[in-house]
């Protein structure tokens, strides 16, 4: 305040403050320079910190690829597990992951899309609808290891499914369900109202409108969300470990009741056992490369679908 009073006084005294030699008058150029310097400096700091995560990602990928070199070859992909690091392969784990997804994909899509349709098209705004929505957002934040406990209790013990593919697949399905629901809801909500109106005007019923108009238009969005959910399920480890997947499985899975191992579980056990056999670290790295490649392909697919098939209205 005192500063401003002085300022006005000077202003009236000297009439032309801009050329005044007193540096505190009107334009305090030193102060402005300081502020701009601070701005520019912190901008660089922020950029540096933003890049930090990306740099770490780069180091992570580099490190893992380097460790896998010499271990990741065709025979690694098509051989059975073995205690002997030189002979060990991950075909069993690959098949296990594929079998798991054969459960997860239909279960999550049917459950997730149905829930989304119900919430968007049928549920009246009210207690039930908001309850299901709150419930879903809370479910999405439950740690995955808790889903493992649910699967262990309900699927493995209560239903007697043991540590089978079915038990693992159902557990993972429940885990990623919220992702499918939320993305399908967004896709359905994005379908313009005039398409529905047109369908009703042609005499179509509510369900026919949903089935023949809304869902086909929302399909790219639903697919994108589902692919992301499935790729999340492929990488999940904790729930499967909690189900008690045996450490060394030499048999290939043949049906949904088989015992199995999957890519992330194999990575986990090999990483734990590097204390015993050093080469297991290389096997784990090679398996990680395979896992990341699968995820990369799936995510690219999701992006392509979103870019190419999303209709604009």
């Amino acid at each position: 305040m005192a500063y401003e009073a002085e300022w006005f006084q000077k202003l009236s005294e000297e009439q032309n403050p801009l050329v005044s030699k007193q540096d505190y008058v009107v334009i305090d150029s030193e102060r402005i320079r300081r502020r701009v310097r601070k701005n520019n400096f912190l901008k660089q700091v922020f950029l540096l910190l933003t890049s930090l995560g990306i740099v770490v990602l780069g180091i992570l990928l580099y490190q893992i690829v380097v460790q896998s070199i010499g271990w990741l070859d065709w025979s690694f992909l098509v051989s059975r597990l073995s205690i002997n690091a030189d002979k060990a392969g991950i075909l069993g784990a690959i098949l296990g992951t594929v079998w798991l997804m054969l459960i997860v994909i239909p279960v999550t899509i049917v459950l997730g899309v149905s829930t989304a349709i119900y919430l968007e098209e049928y549920a009246r705004p009210g207690k039930l609808q908001s309850f299901i929505k709150t419930n879903l957002s809370n479910l999405a934040s439950v740690p995955s290891v808790i889903f493992g406990l649910l699967g262990l209790t309900v699927f493995s013990r209560l239903m007697g499914l043991g540590s089978s593919i079915l038990a693992g697949g159902l557990t993972l399905s429940l885990l990623v369900l919220p992702i499918v629901v939320v993305s399908s809801q967004e896709a359905i909500r994005a379908v313009p109202g005039f398409l529905r109106d047109a369908s009703y005007a042609m005499g179509a019923s509510r369900w026919i409108t949903i089935w023949k108009v809304v869902l086909p238009v929302a399909l790219p969005g639903i697919l994108t969300g589902s692919i992301l959910a499935v790729s999340r399920a492929i990488g999940e480890t904790a729930p499967l470990v909690v189900l008690g997947i045996p450490t060394l499985i030499l048999m290939y899975p043949t049906n949904i009741m088989s015992d199995f191992t999957a890519l992330p579980i194999q990575i986990y056990y090999w990483t734990l056992d590097t204390v015993l056999t050093k080469e297991y670290a290389n096997l784990a790295a090679a398996t990680i490369v395979v896992l990341l490649l699968v995820l990369f392909v799936m995510n690219s697919l999701a992006i392509v679908i979103r870019q190419k098939f999303q209709k604009k209205f």
Partner: protein, 308 residues
């Protein structure tokens, strides 16, 4: 003519009946499917509460709040939960010390400073960070970050809390960054332009206008980050080890609550033993913590949101 009409009417009738059937059945079917998510929540709550109740019935409260954790001791297993809670607290704290400053800086940079081109490059790359499976981070923490840190801190154990804490923080950066950035972008352009027009630098706009206006969303993002850190499993299970002794030394192994569950189930916890039920007690505590965090985040972002 008469017959023709009848056939048309019949076809129409038929279609109508078919449609009606679908229209009657589908809402019921969809509601059933939608209720699976509610059943899942109920399933989680019931399994945790039932088995945890047995645990709390068997183990005196004083023991649970003690520091003696020896679940596999054949003669006299003890179930003090403090070592696990400290492990979880410390690893989450380290993670947030990394994730909050870096995540918020990234959010400020992306929403205030970045050119469209920089943003288009940086944001998707940050999101890749969030898509990497946690098991991969666990491997990275154990086989790269820990040996690296050992060069700086020679006394660091091969299993320790520091390294998984840092890696967990890096994993959470994109979450804090993108949720905070959303909150910052929701601040009306007019407020920004007003401040810029008054001669503020972009930094001053960010610190004095945008962050205060978006504070509810920023706090919510931090709270969700904490909840994520508490529930994170594989990174700590691999890199933090299974030391059950009570200690406050972050350069040594500490077991977290999640790590305890993974270790105990993948070993064989015989059904019906107190050790088996302790899994559910730990699970229940974990569930309540994360649920509480989630509710706090929802409350904060709703209650303290500034509406323009």
């Amino acid at each position: 003519m008469e017959g023709n009409l009848n056939i048309r009417a019949m076809i129409h009738d038929n279609i109508a009946r078919k449609h009606n059937r679908a229209d009657r059945i589908m809402p019921v079917f969809l509601l059933l499917m939608a209720s699976v998510s509610i059943l899942t929540t109920l399933g989680i709550v019931f399994t945790l509460v039932f088995d945890a109740a047995i645990f709390f019935g068997r183990v005196p409260f004083r023991e649970i709040l003690s520091t003696d954790l020896a679940p596999l001791n054949a003669n006299n297993p003890t179930f003090g939960m403090l070592p696990l809670m400290v492990g979880t607290l410390f690893s989450s704290l380290i993670a947030m010390l990394v994730a909050v400053p870096v995540g918020l800086s990234a959010a400020v940079y992306l929403s205030q400073f970045a050119s469209t081109r920089n943003r288009a490059i940086l944001k998707p790359m940050l999101e890749v960070l969030a898509g990497v499976p946690t098991i991969v981070y666990g491997f990275f923490a154990y086989s790269f970050v820990t040996p690296l840190l050992m060069k700086l801190i020679p006394s660091l154990g091969s299993k320790n809390v520091l390294s998984p804490g840092i890696v967990m923080g890096i994993m959470i950066i994109p979450m804090v960054a993108s949720l905070s950035e959303d909150a910052m972008n929701a601040v009306p352009e007019a407020m920004r332009e007003g401040a810029l027009g008054m001669g503020s630098t972009k930094l001053e706009v960010a610190v004095k206008v945008v962050i205060p206006a978006a504070i509810s969303g920023i706090i919510a993002s931090i709270v969700l980050g904490i909840s994520r850190a508490i529930g994170e499993t594989m990174i700590v299970a691999i890199a933090s080890g299974s030391n059950k002794h009570f200690s406050l030394d972050i350069t040594q192994s500490m077991q977290t609550m999640t790590g305890y569950i993974v270790e105990f189930t993948s070993g064989d916890a015989g059904s019906g033993t107190t050790g088996y039920y302790s899994l559910y007690a730990v699970g229940l505590i974990l569930f309540l913590f994360t649920l509480g965090m989630n509710l706090v985040a929802q409350y904060v972002s709703r209650k303290y949101r500034e509406v323009y």
